[in-house]
């Protein structure tokens, strides 16, 4: 046995006892088990839960929060937060549909994505350049972008090109909905970015100690801005997919979306302020939230009780994760 393999073995043995760093630690396994139990209970208690129809529904419903949560993960890893994703979703949908009257729909989509990128770049720039608190910067952007999008259009916009819906949000490849497939492609991309690129590793480290990263000769500002830009871009992308799935873009959409995304990241083991969070955890968090929604609806739980229970479930989820960690 060579030295390196010895080290590696040791590494994997230790993983079990050290939460955050490992990919498959106890907390994650417990979490996966909890989701599995939820699925089993649901499929026994409700005969429609495991139908193709319902699974397709769930897989489409979690796309928006999935994309937002992945972006939010990047930002939370740097120690930040992005409250402005909700309005970006709404604005992007309006642009992607409303501009179809003036240009082909791919161009409209490009404008929408560019807007998301721009908002993200702006957030990142203000935070990185002026060392402002991410919460307050993105809170301000949240208000401003919401104002802007209403200035752009105070009424819903409808796509004019039918392909916009049938190719993207409303499309299917075999039995699989296109938006879900897109999300499925983006998840490993983000994972690869975080784990196998210089920039991704820097993002992880910046959230823990940005001064140490800077002194290691890494351009902290660039990676910080990059994380916010990616988050804005993903939010805009989510907005395009949402509008194309619904066949309409409403200006009032997206309120509270940022909280859902943050909840998914934290339930998945993310730590606000940086230093914790994995793609697999986020996927679990998004899945858990979507399943809870779906199951509560299938079990016909009244709206207020749903809201009440959802709060409790979030609490139990973070408690359980803590206990096992």
């Amino acid at each position: 046995m060579t030295l390196t393999t010895a080290l590696r073995d040791q590494g994997s043995a230790q993983q079990s006892s050290y939460g955050r760093i490992g990919r498959f630690n106890v907390a994650n396994i417990g979490f996966a088990l909890a989701i599995l139990i939820l699925v089993i209970v649901a499929s026994m208690a409700s005969d429609v839960f495991l139908t193709e129809r319902n699974l397709v529904s769930i897989s489409r419903q979690l796309v928006t929060n999935g994309l937002l949560s992945l972006g939010m993960l990047l930002v939370i890893l740097t120690g930040g937060i992005d409250l402005s994703v909700g309005p970006v979703v709404a604005f992007s949908g309006l642009l992607a549909t409303g501009l179809q009257a003036y240009m082909p729909f791919p161009a409209a989509i490009a404008v929408a994505l560019a807007m998301g990128l721009a908002v993200g770049l702006f957030n990142g720039f203000m935070i990185a350049r002026f060392k402002l608190q991410p919460f307050i910067v993105t809170l301000a952007t949240m208000g401003s972008v919401r104002g802007l999008l209403y200035i752009f259009s105070e009424t819903p916009q409808y796509p004019t090109d039918p392909l916009f819906r049938s190719l993207l949000g409303g499309g299917f490849i075999g039995p699989f909905p296109v938006p879900s497939l897109i999300l499925l492609c983006i998840i490993p991309l983000v994972w690869f970015y975080l784990n196998h690129t210089v920039s991704g590793r820097a993002v992880y480290a910046i959230g823990v100690n940005s001064e140490a990263v800077r002194l290691a000769g890494i351009n902290v500002r660039r990676h910080l801005i990059g994380a916010y830009a990616a988050c804005g871009f993903l939010a805009a992308f989510a907005g395009v997919l949402l509008a194309s799935r619904l066949g309409i873009a409403q200006p009032s959409v997206g309120i509270g979306y940022e909280l859902d995304a943050i909840a998914a990241v934290v339930i998945g083991g993310g730590i606000l302020g940086g230093g914790g969070g994995t793609v697999i955890g986020v996927v679990g968090g998004v899945l858990a939230l979507a399943l809870v929604d779906n199951v509560l609806n299938l079990f016909n739980v009244e709206s207020y009780y749903q809201q009440f229970l959802k709060g409790l479930i979030i609490l139990v989820a973070v408690l359980a994760r803590r206990k096992r960690a």
Binding site: Y18, A212, L215, G217
Partner: protein
């Protein structure tokens, strides 16, 4: 008076203390020695109630204090100066000193600010530091004065047991002397003082008894007068160390770094010196003399406002660390917790942080190769415990320091190394290793600037020595001119007959 009986503690299954027993009497000074990670701090944390032991008890006059409740320990008169600074930087000195012991008027929940200031001032004055204004914000004090405030916190009310966990690491010789005076005063009046330090000279100077921990086991417990340096080292390290400093065979080449009239007032001004390839140049000064600021300026972390920097004879402009690294510089920062390490990240990520480009192709990392190279390097530095995925937070201070060294040694094409207090808080065996590494680096033609506050270290290792005072270079000495008294006089600004500026 104090009986530590069979105390054990492990973290995540790794034992930090194994069945440790030791006793100490009131009015004595007990020194605890051991390598980094031996368990000294853990033992003191048990005693001060910061953590609960897995088993065993600690009796203070027959009362078990090892219950994991700091409040209870303080009530019993156990006062602790923790190894990590635990001050609240944006609060006043007075408030920090009396944190948790706020004096109050009649009702228990009302703070009496006048009394707070008065008592804090009294404690600090009795300690010998009349100069510290108790109304000042702690973050405005220099690091060493902050440490004085930290110690003063433990002196409020007469402690029955005073624990000092490496209090001298950031103190100057003079401040250390005042501390020792205080220790003697307290022990004379019946306080048991527990003193932890990696500096054996201090141990022999101040302690009555010495207790040595190795890998969580108590391996030596004796009266200080009855043991000698070698015996203690042997107990700590498990073998003797014949030579602390490597014998230098300097092979000095071209000028690698030249600094001309560098300034960033008011921190430092008109700093001019050169370092040649293969040379170790020391930089000595009192704490706060501006050495770190010079290092940061050269490295582009906080760029200089005046002057120029030449690398291998060519002027360079270092505005960011990245540009400095590109010119072949590396800076091992003095405060590893604040500037050196991302504590929650893994050993691998920290060790590989500065050298990622080596393993990257268009920004995509070859993680397998990176892991292999980093772990080889850290293994060569004998970082313990091994395991690349462990967060560095869980390593002891000395091992953390080795990770920082490894990080910079992994960067390719480095010609100039700046070490800022590389041996602060590091045990004697690791120090010897770090000295060996410095010597080896120099032997491979690197130019080395060694900033240190430890006189023996700079005298033992350096080829030349820069002495700084108040942000200016007072003198630069060749090895032949090295003389402890003279260097100290320069640094402190005390006129001596031999001083030449």
């Amino acid at each position: 008076m104090l009986e530590i009986i069979n105390v054990s503690k492990s973290f995540d299954g790794n034992p930090a203390l194994r069945d440790v027993s030791v006793t100490a009497a009131a009015g004595r000074v007990l020194a605890i020695c051991g390598e980094n990670g031996a368990g000294k701090t853990t033992l003191m944390n048990v005693l001060s109630g910061a953590i609960k032991p897995d088993q065993g008890e600690i009796l203070l006059d027959e009362v078990n204090v090892a219950v994991g409740n700091p409040h209870y320990a303080i009530e019993l008169g156990i006062q602790t100066v923790h190894q990590e600074l635990s001050l609240l930087p944006h609060l006043s000195v007075a408030e920090n000193v009396l944190l948790g012991k706020w004096p109050h008027r009649r009702v228990g929940w009302l703070v009496d600010w006048k009394e707070t200031e008065r008592r804090a001032a009294e404690v600090i004055r009795d300690f010998g530091f009349e100069g510290i204004d108790v109304g000042a914000r702690v973050s405005d004090l220099s690091i060493s004065l902050q440490q004085i405030v930290e110690i003063a916190k433990a002196l409020v009310g007469k402690p029955r047991v005073l624990i000092l966990d490496e209090p001298s690491a950031v103190l100057s010789a003079h401040e250390t002397r005042l501390l020792f005076r205080k220790i003697r005063e307290l022990s004379a009046s019946g306080t048991l003082v527990i003193y932890i330090s990696h500096r054996l000279d201090e141990i022999f100077e101040v302690s009555d008894n010495v207790f040595v921990l190795k890998d969580g086991l108590g391996v030596l417990s004796a009266e200080t007068a009855k043991v000698n340096r070698d015996l203690v080292i042997k107990a700590m390290v498990g073998r003797s160390l014949d030579a602390i400093y490597p014998v230098r065979h300097p092979n000095i080449g071209e000028v690698a770094l030249e600094v001309r009239h560098l300034g960033r007032r008011p921190l430092f001004d008109d700093v001019t010196f050169t370092i040649r390839a293969g040379e170790i140049v020391g930089m000595f000064g009192l704490i706060g003399s501006g050495r770190t600021d010079v290092a940061k300026a050269i490295f582009g972390a906080e760029p200089a406002l005046e002057g120029e920097i030449l690398v291998a004879g060519k002027p360079v402009v270092t505005t960011t660390p990245a540009t400095a690294i590109a010119k072949g510089m590396a800076l091992v920062t003095e405060d590893r917790k604040r500037d050196g390490l991302a504590m929650d990240c893994s050993v691998l990520d920290n060790g590989g942080l500065a050298s990622m480009d080596r393993f990257a192709f268009h920004g995509v990392l070859n993680r397998a190769r990176q892991g292999e190279v980093v772990s080889n390097k850290l293994d060569g530095l004998q970082v313990r415990p091994r395991g690349m995925r462990r967060p560095v937070r869980q390593l002891s201070g000395g091992n953390q320091q080795k990770v920082v060294l490894g990080k910079w040694m992994l960067v390719e094409n480095t010609r100039i190394f700046i070490f800022d207090e590389p041996t602060r808080g590091v045990d004697i065996a690791t120090k010897v290793e770090i000295y060996r590494i410095l010597d080896e680096l120099a032997a491979t033609g690197q130019a080395i600037l060694l900033i240190s506050s430890e006189m023996p270290e700079v005298l033992g290792l350096c080829d030349r020595l820069i002495v700084m005072r108040s942000g200016r270079i007072v003198t630069i000495l060749d090895r032949a001119e090295f003389d402890m008294e003279a260097v100290f006089a320069h640094a402190a600004g005390i006129e001596t007959p031999s001083s030449t500026v």
